[in-house]
Homo-oligomer: 280 residues x 2
């Protein structure tokens, strides 16, 4: 049975959003909808235009027999600004303040709508990069890693603080946390990362960057390449004490005033480091 | 500027899939596309039909001034069978076998395509239930929790093994792991769960069910209600030793033969416990 264009457009949109960065052949769609490839091509022109207009992403067309179409999630600059605004509003709520000036962030990291924003922001920032997997360290960065990985269409690997029997053989490193100067351990299963893999490191928080630097060192043991470092919130820090130079941060914690119960948050270096957005 | 139907259908599909179970008013779409509500209603009929035909989910229409439309992700029976088949194929690969008969599962739990299947299966199973949040315990269940939460449109909360200062005040319980008989601790931030919340508990693995029972006990301290328990893999276990009776499992580990290097996996109780699927 031939499928109507409207049904094709709806299902294609859904299929492509669930398969970001995957090359989908025209034949696949032609068979899925019992439709001619020429009709599929016309559909894809409409999908492409709408995805670009609406800031959903871009559609790359790969010509030739082994070709097809690839959906690259992206973001427009004003959408990125709005998302960062929503996130910074959430983080700066004064009831997050815990004794000692710590911030309660667990609700944000478990909020799937906010994590969708985070995932899109990172996927947009690395839209033109080859990324093979997203890495984080347990526990708090895992939601961020899954959100980014979903829009990048790649797997997540999680380094642990301890070695478990269910990880099989592992590689472990010791590193010094930049801010507390404590020696910590990070363990990653040997099977998790292939040699030469291009890895996006993400984490929820960075001060001096000891943990991110630890992840970079750990990846060296796997002969993997760090394709980027994405941080949800960085805190104000003397740049000479930074252990990681090249990173993208969504937000920056400017100051925490425990007595006055205020949290000052601003946009991180996102717009300085991200140059390519979908057209307005 | 008036927006064409094809563009509306594409953007609506994308918007609804990113906002599962959320009530979206017709006015919202009418303003978004500068279109008459009558056109939006016609669009939604087409989206509804396609979502149902393609096994994406159902669209609930809520009449009245405060009404609108709600996308409930669902799954068809044959799609559920196929997803479970893919998952069981992955789990039964013999190279997962670790010394001691343990299974390496980290790659599966980090594979976003497989996690999408898991999320859809759980969302389909609980499509007719009121769920306010998804809970798991660190670390391995977190990917599953995020996948389920994304299709259910609710937040994730993660119980930890240890209490951290960034969790604020916490509630902790001790429980006895059913299989190893070891006493373990589980900690949950006080702010994480509201009184009366209906919680879906998920975990990657269940043997006697001590951990799931621990999460149930912990939720009692919050006066929350367990709306369901979803397990990725259960292992063969005498039913009299089970600490949790009412759960849905996707897969069941029948046997692990370390010498013969075989892993036998079958479908869990999913189809016995799930009665409502999208129509074929």
């Amino acid at each position: 049975m031939k499928i109507k264009r409207s049904e094709r457009l709806i299902d294609m949109t859904h299929y492509l959003s669930e398969h970001p960065r995957e090359l989908v052949s025209l034949t696949f769609f032609a068979e899925r909808y019992s439709s001619a490839k020429s009709s599929i091509s016309e559909d894809l022109v409409i999908v492409k235009e709408t995805f670009e207009n609406r800031g959903i992403g871009s559609l790359q067309t790969v010509p030739g027999a082994a070709g097809g179409v690839r959906f690259i999630p992206g973001i427009k600059k004003d959408q990125a600004e709005e998302a960062l605004h929503i996130l910074s509003d959430q983080v700066s709520k004064s009831d997050r303040l815990l004794p000692g000036g710590y911030l309660f962030m667990t609700d944000i990291l478990g909020d799937i709508h906010l994590m969708n924003h985070v995932g899109k922001l990172f996927a947009g920032a690395f839209a033109n990069e080859q990324i093979d997997l997203v890495m984080t360290v347990a526990t708090k960065g895992i939601g961020i890693a899954h959100a980014a990985a979903r829009y990048l269409g790649v797997p997540v690997v999680v380094a642990r603080r301890d070695s478990k029997v269910t990880e099989g053989s592992t590689v472990s490193i010791n590193y010094v946390s930049g801010s507390s100067k404590r020696i910590q351990t990070m363990v990653l299963s040997k099977r998790s990362v292939k040699q030469g893999a291009r890895v996006l490191i993400v984490d929820d928080f960075m001060k001096a960057g000891g943990t991110a630097a630890g992840m970079k060192n750990l990846l060296e043991e796997f002969s993997a390449t760090v394709a980027g470092v994405g941080i949800f919130i960085e805190s104000e820090q003397d740049s000479e004490e930074r252990l990681v130079e090249d990173y993208i941060s969504l937000l920056k914690l400017r100051s925490v005033d425990e007595k006055g119960k205020t949290i000052q948050v601003e946009t991180g270096n996102y717009f300085d480091r991200v140059s390519s957005f979908l057209k307005q």
